[in-house]
């Protein structure tokens, strides 16, 4: 299935991209699985998305927990903890 992935702030800078459309292999069906899938690209991906890194996620613009399911056509965003206000 195809999804849209977005990156913000320090994550966007580390990865050198604001996002992409990506075709996911079967079995990548949660936010955590997608994060692991991207981290396995190695290099900056592994560094920025490693499990020990504090990365938050949103699915279709709603903040979610790592176990949240993802579906074809979803917009999934990864970003560091927010610092507004």
């Amino acid at each position: 299935m195809k999804v849209k992935v977005l990156f913000f702030a320090s994550l966007r800078e580390q990865l050198g991209t604001a996002g992409e459309e990506i075709e996911l292999p079967v079995g990548v069906a949660t936010v955590a699985a997608l994060r692991g899938h991207l981290a396995r690209r190695g290099g900056p991906w592994e560094g920025a998305l490693a499990e020990k890194k504090n990365v938050r996620a949103a699915v279709n613009q709603d903040m979610v927990k790592p176990g949240a399911p993802i579906r074809a056509g979803d917009e999934i965003a990864f970003f560091p903890p927010v610092t507004g206000g």
């Binding site: 320090s10 949103a58 613009q61 965003a77 560091p80 903890p81 610092t83 507004g84």
Partner: protein, 148 residues
């Protein structure tokens, strides 16, 4: 309810006065967040930001008697002493206005997708989230139920 995510500055006095007109309103509480002594860039997640702020304001309205509220948050380049954020709440009495205003600010700090990057002489750096902000939002959550 007015929710705005904008590059431009806002008029605090005007925004607060706009909340006076509600029948029965006896109090307006407001908070303004300003930039400390460092230049910064504020990034946000267009679309999600507005939704997140609206949800936080709606949550406040379910917990306190909120007649109306205004939340404005800026993004882009900001200079020392610039205004960043305004939260203003109109209510019948001060208690609800104060509490709802503080609740909206505390949740905004941990739930609204904004990120600050500070520009100092030694270089630019993203601001790290603070655990104290999570603590501030957490104190509004209902106490955990005791095991029976």
């Amino acid at each position: 309810m007015k929710i705005s995510v904008q590059r431009e500055d806002f008029d605090h006095g005007l925004e607060v006065r706009n909340l006076y007109k509600h029948a029965g309103a006896g109090a307006v509480a407001s908070f303004v967040g300003i930039v400390r002594d460092v230049r910064m860039t504020l990034e946000h997640y267009p679309g999600m930001t507005e939704n997140a702020l609206r949800k936080i304001a709606e949550q406040a309205a379910t917990r306190w008697k909120v007649m109306d509220c205004t939340v404005i948050h800026r993004y882009g380049e900001l200079a020392p002493h610039d205004q960043i954020v305004l939260v203003a709440v109109a209510s019948a009495h001060r208690g609800d206005a104060f509490a709802a205003c503080e609740f909206i600010m505390d949740y905004l700090k941990t739930q609204a997708p904004f990120w600050k990057k500070e520009h100092r002489a030694e270089g630019a750096a993203w601001v790290e989230a603070r655990a104290s902000d999570d603590d501030a939002a957490g104190r509004w959550e209902p106490p955990a139920r005791k095991a029976s």
